[in-house]
């Protein structure tokens, strides 16, 4: 009698499991058989009416069938969950090659990129960054830099004047003087900034940026200048970069040199960028003229120094192969974005 009912429940349950199309249906079926008032639960309650002698056997039968059904449901649940997950994933699958509009990272201006690189190389070598006025007294731009009153660079064809005494600085060297007036040696600074000269063509802009460097300490020599600039050249272009000094002239340095770097594009073999010479002129430099030190109240017997200056526009044009300086002030987003 009991066995008959058990086998009927087993049969019905198997049918219900195979019919259940989803987890919900399966859950309902589970309740129908194993729930508080499920078929098997009710049968279990009947056990109390079974004669004591038959109880152990009946109990075992009922427990076995219960374990069997629970296992069957667990397996069915697992199968169904797996199937449902597969379906959902198939349904949710995206075309990963599609995109949606997003805020694009902006671009630093190429002049800032190059200026930052220059600054970072020198700050890494223990230089500080100093700033000075762009509109300055002619004293700082010329007189204190040992540029005589009759020097042609003071001419209005080469300098923007506000009045007789005040001008737009033509060189960041003017910052040197401001610093030397307020800071005593050792001095190890770079001065990046805008400068102004009345030129406007493919290789000149009336406003451009320079980075000036100044080192003043005891026992500073031309060899030290060469060492620092070689280090700079290697970091700015590549480890293979070589430098070459050529004698030149700046009123505020003596000796003065032009510093050529081996061409970054051809490595010195000669190409369009270096006009076949293998060298690129990038920096002016020299040993600080003792007259400049004395003018700022620094004892030139005790201290010596060197200074160097370079044009950021020129360095940028060389690095990126930009043919016309005016493109650097075009500010077309399509140009700027190339420098991200």
């Amino acid at each position: 009698m009991l066995e008959k009912e058990i086998s009927s429940i087993r049969r019905e349950c198997a049918a219900a499991i195979s019919e259940a199309a989803n987890s919900q249906k399966l859950g309902e079926a589970k309740v129908r058989f194993l729930g508080k008032s499920g078929a098997l639960t009710l049968l279990l309650r009947e056990l109390k009416n079974v004669p004591p002698a038959e109880k152990p056997a009946a109990g075992k039968l009922l427990n076995d069938i219960r374990a069997e059904l629970e296992a069957a449901f667990a397996m069915a649940e697992e199968n169904l969950a797996k199937k449902e997950r597969e379906l959902r994933i198939a349904k949710e699958t995206l075309d990963v090659t599609l995109s949606k509009p997003y805020t694009e990272y902006g671009a630093l201006h190429p002049l800032s990129v190059v200026k930052n690189d220059i600054i970072n190389i020198f700050t890494g070598m223990g230089f500080e960054i100093k700033d000075g006025p762009e509109i300055d007294y002619e004293y700082y731009n010329f007189t204190a830099l040992n540029i005589p009153a009759d020097h042609p660079s003071r001419d209005s064809a080469d300098t923007f004047y506000i009045n007789d005494k005040i001008l737009l600085r033509t060189q960041t060297s003017a910052v040197q003087v401001h610093v030397m007036e307020t800071q005593k040696p050792p001095i190890r600074i770079i001065c990046p900034g805008k400068v102004y000269r009345p030129d406007d063509d493919a290789t000149h802009s009336p406003m451009f940026q320079q980075v000036e460097g100044l080192v003043i300490d005891e026992h500073v020599t031309l060899s030290d200048l060469t060492g620092i600039l070689l280090e700079f050249a290697k970091k700015f272009f590549s480890q293979e970069t070589k430098i070459r000094l050529r004698p030149s002239f700046f009123p505020f340095t003596e000796p003065s040199v032009e510093v050529d770097l081996s061409c970054a594009m051809c490595g010195g073999k000669g190409c369009r960028l270096c006009k076949g010479t293998g060298w690129i002129e990038l920096l002016g430099a020299g040993v600080v003229n003792p007259a400049v030190l004395e003018c700022s109240g620094i004892d030139s017997k005790k201290y010596s120094g060197f200074a160097f200056g370079m044009g950021v526009e020129r360095a940028t044009m060389i690095r990126y192969g930009i043919p016309d300086m005016r493109l650097l002030f075009d500010n077309d987003i399509r140009i700027l974005r190339q420098f991200r």
Partner: protein, 793 residues
């Protein structure tokens, strides 16, 4: 400075190719702009005698010339259309494969059935513009004594290589062929040949011909003059003519040519006056009178003033000193006696006069660069030596010479150690001595020290550093060994401010903004484009006295124009989404006209095209949040902003640190833009002064936060800031955050009102909040809101 190499070799011998010579000069401090081969344009053209001239058998206008080209190619036959060439003439003939100055290449061929070995040439084809007695048109006929079979470049003095040498401003002594010869001698070790200064003068005294008075020694520190009489005026010899042509000058006559020759050879500009024209026999160097006039050699009249120096006779100016002579005093065919002037004029005065009169000459160009004190005497003696050499006149004894302040011989005392201290390498004493001697310095040893006597033409030499430079530029910079400095380690690096400046840019980049760089100078018309009222303080700008043009004539007081202009340019080029920023100075004068330096204020400007107000504002809000600057956006405007869509940005202590908003459509129209533009300017100095990091670190509450949304109805004009201020003031310490997440006006809301949805977030540090805790906070807030006319919806 043009340096013909053959001319240079007259003073120093060397066995170098032009390229090698160029490299030597570069290595000792002279840039080579160009190496010019004067013969480059004309190749394979020789002189030939016309031995026979016959009619062309089948063309009336052509002739068949039989030419003797001597050692070149013997006898040749050439067909020509020349009507002027005669038998016996010596003419240039372009041989097979020749190249002409016109760019044409010549090949032998046939003309109407008659073989032609080449072509007869005219001046244009030879690249010349004049030849003694020759016509500009037609075939050139050489002078009768011209050798046959010579290369025409040689005949015309064009077989010469010229170096264009850049001379740095300090080396005025090197602005001459002899000056460069000194350098070549030092660089190659070859001896420098002395100049020929030999001349004989007669027993007369110049004083009986002319007197000198120098009334302006400040502008004319030296004036020398000599008289030459019985002058034989004639063309210069070919050598002189060719040399002058090689440096781009036109030969005129022997006297004028001598002055030009000396200008290039010595670097001394000279002038020759016709003696008979010197009224009262007096040369006076003086400042011009106001409104004094002179007609110069260029046939133009110049009006002078007290700042201009003239060389005058007893009556009127004969020359503008150092610039140009007067037309009436020039050397003419009837000149029989001349006064040679060799002077030094102050370079800035020559420059200023030349600029103000807009009158330039080879002489003024040289004086502007500067002429050393050695050159007056050397130049004058060279001119007289040439007169003497060629027998062109009788040199009168005595010299007029005004030399008020004779410079003393300069001596520089130094030691070998001094040189090492500057260069960082040891240059042996014998090398130092050798180099300085090769540069014509006299060096003596006095105990441990060396004393260098500086030659008079080296006015640039001031001290030991100059000696060090002389030594190393000849010794060679390749000897310098790169070294890293010894000494104390410097701290270096960026300051906090400089780091925050970088951080600001990085934040903006992440917001999709790209950096621009624009000119600091703008046009004064920008204030009209921006619709600034006439009394607006931004119109008070620093003005450039000599701008490149009105568009670049004032220093900007705002970055707004440059930003709007850049946005407009991008818009006009079809660029779509554009977000830009610029960090630059604005220049704010304390008073105009400027008596002290203006305030230079670092300013941050942001701009956007195809953005919206709140999107643009969010960039600023997040920027300020990251910098931990708790600024408020308050309604406020600028003349160039949309009055309803603009805000000023106010710092906690109440100062205005910037503005933002939509560009007014009338202003946008001034820039030809019909789209909405957004712009903001912030005081970067304030940001850098007040930016800080978020530290110290705070521990978050362990207890859960509870969110409540409320929607209140309020007057449409009530601003979110007012509602939130009330919410925050009344929320107590449990309210940790609140913000507006929706604003609604429409059907469900009565006219003139709006519904504002506010998110309230409550949290305690001590416990989990219960419903009644949060209810109490919300009801407190609602009570407070009702006092400003906002009630729960």
């Amino acid at each position: 400075m043009l340096i013909p190499i053959k001319w240079l070799k007259e003073y120093v011998s060397f066995d170098l190719t032009p390229a090698e010579l160029a490299e030597k000069l570069v290595s000792c401090g002279f840039e080579i702009e160009q190496i010019i081969d004067l013969a480059a344009n004309v190749k394979n053209v020789v002189s030939a005698r016309v031995v026979a001239l016959a009619k062309h058998p089948s063309a009336d206008r052509l002739k068949v010339a039989t030419l003797d080209t001597g050692k070149a190619q013997g006898v040749l036959q050439v067909v020509t259309n020349s009507t002027t060439v005669k038998e016996g003439d010596i003419v240039p003939v372009a041989l097979d494969g020749a190249m002409l100055a016109t760019g044409v290449r010549i090949k032998k061929g046939e003309l109407r059935g008659v073989a032609s070995a080449g072509m007869l040439c005219g001046m244009e084809e030879l690249g010349i513009t004049e030849y003694p007695g020759a016509d500009k048109e037609g075939v050139l006929v050489f002078l009768p004594d011209t050798p046959v079979g010579e290369d025409v470049n040689k005949l015309l003095g064009k077989d010469e290589i010229v170096l264009d040498v850049g001379i740095t401003a300090n080396r005025i002594d090197a602005n001459s062929i002899y000056g460069i010869a000194r350098e070549v001698a030092a660089a190659t070790g070859a001896p420098l040949k002395p100049l020929n200064f030999d001349y004989k003068e007669n027993k007369e005294d110049i004083a009986s011909y002319v007197a000198l008075s120098n009334l302006a020694p400040d502008l004319c520190p030296r004036y020398m003059a000599k008289v030459v009489k019985n002058v034989r005026l004639c063309p210069s010899p070919e050598l002189i003519q060719n040399r002058l042509r090689a440096v781009g000058l036109r030969p005129i006559n022997n006297i004028v040519d001598i002055t030009n020759y000396v200008l290039y050879e010595i670097g001394q500009p000279m002038h020759a006056f016709d003696l008979k024209m010197i009224a009262d026999s007096k040369i006076t160097v003086r400042r011009a009178e106001e409104e004094e006039k002179i007609v110069c050699l260029d046939d133009k009249t110049y009006t002078l003033g007290r700042d201009n120096l003239v060389i005058a006779n007893g009556k009127e100016p004969m020359a503008i000193a150092g610039i140009m002579g007067g037309k009436n005093y020039s050397i003419l065919p009837d000149t029989t006696a001349v006064v040679f002037e060799s002077a030094r004029f102050a370079r800035d005065n020559v420059r200023k006069t030349s600029r103000s009169l807009n009158l330039r000459s080879d002489s003024s160009a040289r004086f502007e660069k500067g002429v050393d004190f050695w050159s007056q005497d050397a130049g004058l003696r060279r001119a007289l030596a040439l007169i003497s050499e060629y027998g062109w006149g009788e040199i009168v004894g005595g010299t007029l010479d005004s030399f008020p302040v004779r410079p003393e011989t300069k001596r520089i005392v130094f030691s070998v150690k001094d040189i090492e201290r500057i260069l960082g390498i040891n240059v042996p004493e014998q090398n130092i001595l050798g180099i300085l001697k090769s540069l014509t310095f006299k060096v003596n040893k006095e105990k441990e020290m060396l004393v260098a006597e500086i030659p008079p033409y080296r006015e640039d030499m001031a001290g030991i550093n100059d000696i060090a430079e002389e030594v190393i530029r000849i010794y060679g910079y390749s000897h310098i060994r790169p070294e890293l400095m010894e000494g104390k380690t410097a701290a270096g690096g960026k300051t906090k401010r400089q780091e925050f400046a970088d951080k600001i840019k990085n934040i903006l980049l992440a917001k999709g903004m790209s950096e621009i760089v624009t000119y600091s100078f703008v046009s004064p018309r920008i204030f009209d484009l921006l619709r600034l009222p006439s009394e607006d303080p931004l119109r008070e700008a620093v003005k450039i006295n000599n701008p490149l043009g009105e568009d670049f004539s004032i220093m900007r007081t705002t970055l707004a124009h440059s930003m709007i202009k850049t946005l407009a340019t991008n818009f006009q080029r079809g660029n779509k989404a554009v977000r830009l920023f610029e960090v630059a100075k604005t220049y704010l004068p304390k008073a105009l006209p400027l008596t002290e330096l203006p305030i230079e204020k670092n300013t941050l400007c942001l701009g956007a095209l195809n953005d919206d107000f709140y999107g643009f504002k969010s960039i600023l809000e997040d920027l300020l949040a990251v910098l931990h600057i708790d600024a408020d956006f308050i309604r406020g405007s600028k003349p160039y902003l949309h009055p309803g869509r603009s805000a000023i940005i106010v710092a906690p202590e109440g100062s205005v640190i910037g503005y933002m908003g939509e560009v007014d459509d009338l202003v946008a129209a001034n820039y030809d833009v019909d789209k909405r533009l957004y712009i903001a300017e912030l005081d970067e100095e304030y940001l850098l002064d007040h930016a800080r990091s978020g530290l110290p670190f705070k521990v978050n509450s362990r207890y859960p936060a509870v969110e409540r949304d409320i929607a209140v109805l309020c007057d449409k004009r009530t601003e979110a800031a007012e509602l939130l201020k009330t919410v925050r003031a009344s929320g107590g310490e449990l309210l940790i955050d609140s913000y507006v997440f929706d604003v609604y006006t429409g059907d469900q809301v009565e006219e003139g009102k709006k519904s504002v949805a506010i998110k309230l977030i409550c949290q305690s540090k001590e416990r989990t909040l219960k419903d009644e805790d949060v209810n109490a906070v919300v009801s407190g807030i609602l009570d407070a809101l009702s006092t400003i006319g906002a009630r729960l919806r």
